[in-house]
């Protein structure tokens, strides 16, 4: 994206850019969205007269650009609601008899669980599921997961996150952030965007949070609701697998 953008023909230029992205002649992950926006701001400052529809056009184009970029930075095209492996038994030449028994057992477990789900027990403060104290592996895996996410957040470059670090790390960061958000929601049921940001003003954190929220909403894991214009955005977990 070092190629200069012609200020006078901004709209055409961005259209061309989107076309190049769609035809894969330019790799979306290499496009600096922030650079484009900067140039657009400069363009606005120069052209004193611009109509509302110009701005609307640009917003639509910018959205398309961001969408391409978001698609490019996600490592996998589809983020399944859970972990479902896609390879199950499609390419097996003969039926897996060993597995068959366990598939029956799985159905049996479903039945058991259905029966159990009729009864509600009291919950004293803590939320299910419960983990056995003494499970050192679980304790350690929680810690290393948390600290790796935390270090990543802290070490993300401050400057121009959209143009630089998205290419290098953001794919991971967004997934991690999605995971974080899911976990927070499991605990708190509903959170607002502000609570999720916790006053964090780091650009990379804000951007990855928003992209993670949009992706979680797109794949049907959460609801997003803004109760009033410019109000806080409320985030709630939908029911989903797992």
């Amino acid at each position: 994206m070092a190629a200069g953008v012609d200020y006078n023909n901004f709209s055409d230029t961005i259209n061309n850019l989107i076309r190049l992205l769609e035809s894969r002649e330019v790799e979306a992950s290499n496009v600096s969205v922030s650079e484009v926006i900067k140039i657009y701001a400069a363009y606005l400052l120069r052209s004193e007269n611009f109509s509302l529809s110009d701005v609307a056009d640009f917003l639509a184009q910018a959205a398309a650009l961001v969408l391409s970029k978001v698609r490019a930075i996600f490592p996998r095209p589809v983020f399944e609601c859970e972990e479902e492996e896609d390879a199950t038994s499609d390419d097996q030449d003969e039926p897996n008899e060993k597995l068959h028994h366990f598939q029956l057992a799985a159905i049996y477990l479903e039945v058991l669980h259905y029966r159990r789900s009729k009864y509600f027990t009291r919950q004293l403060g803590e939320t299910r599921p419960f983990y056995e104290v003494g499970d050192l592996y679980f304790l350690a895996s929680l810690w290393w997961g948390l600290i790796n996410n935390f270090n990543f957040r802290i070490n993300s470059p401050e400057e121009d996150i959209i143009s630089i670090s998205i290419e290098e790390n953001q794919g991971y960061s967004i997934e991690a952030r999605m995971e974080d958000i899911k976990n927070s929601l499991l605990e708190y049921k509903e959170l607002t965007l502000n609570e999720l940001l916790k006053g964090e003003r780091d650009k990379s954190f804000v951007v990855s949070t928003i992209i993670a929220l949009l992706e979680l909403a797109r794949i049907g894991i959460i609801y997003l609701k803004q109760r009033q214009h410019f109000g806080d955005i409320h985030v709630r977990l939908k029911e989903c697998n797992g």
Binding site: E83, E85, T88, A106, R116, Y137
Partner: protein, 182 residues
């Protein structure tokens, strides 16, 4: 009606109170120890309470994970769900996760590689999901090359599926013969 009065004699009242304060299944042996009463007598009272609940109450006793637990009556499921659906035992697992869980339940302790041999697909992510549900846990490492982790089901597993012990699951033989549990 005198039987229901009997159901709540002094001992039964104590048993009931203990069950109430425990958010988890309680073993009758623990109640017996705590109250210094023969376990058989405790079990008698547990049955009395259950009977009494059946005819008068919105509650019941369920026998799960080797213990007894107070719960709302099965026929009130909809009422409770509507009142506050966050209390229900919500657990939804994908087919892959259920299958893996079944393998672990029957073959525990088992390593990831062994699970994958049975399933024929990579199972690391499913295992991660299952660990995060609390239904399975890591229970040490297998001796030998690489000393891989061993997985086991937890008490939470028994509670979630409403069984007392793994022995209540149909045997592999039964499954083989039964064929169609659906």
């Amino acid at each position: 009606m005198s039987d229901s009065r009997n159901a709540m004699d002094e001992l039964a009242r104590k048993v009931e109170a203990i069950l109430f304060v425990s958010s988890e299944p309680v073993k009758s042996a623990d109640i017996s120890n705590a109250l210094g009463v023969d376990v058989k007598i405790v079990e008698e009272r547990l049955n009395n309470i259950k009977e009494h609940y059946k005819s008068h109450h919105g509650l019941t006793l369920i026998n799960v994970a080797g213990g007894w637990q107070m719960a709302t009556a099965g026929d009130l499921k909809d009422v409770i769900e509507e009142y506050n659906n966050s209390y229900g035992y919500k657990l939804r697992l994908s087919k892959a996760a259920m299958e893996t869980l079944a393998i672990i339940a029957y073959k525990q302790p088992i390593t990831r590689t062994e699970i994958e041999e049975i399933r024929g697909v990579r199972s690391d992510k499913v295992l991660e999901t299952l660990l995060s549900t609390g239904l399975i846990k890591v229970a040490g490492r297998k001796k030998g090359t690489g000393s891989p982790l061993l997985y086991r089901t937890t008490q939470e597993f028994l509670e979630a599926f409403g069984i007392n012990s793994l022995s209540e699951l149909p045997t592999e033989e039964e499954l083989k013969n039964e064929g169609n549990y659906s």
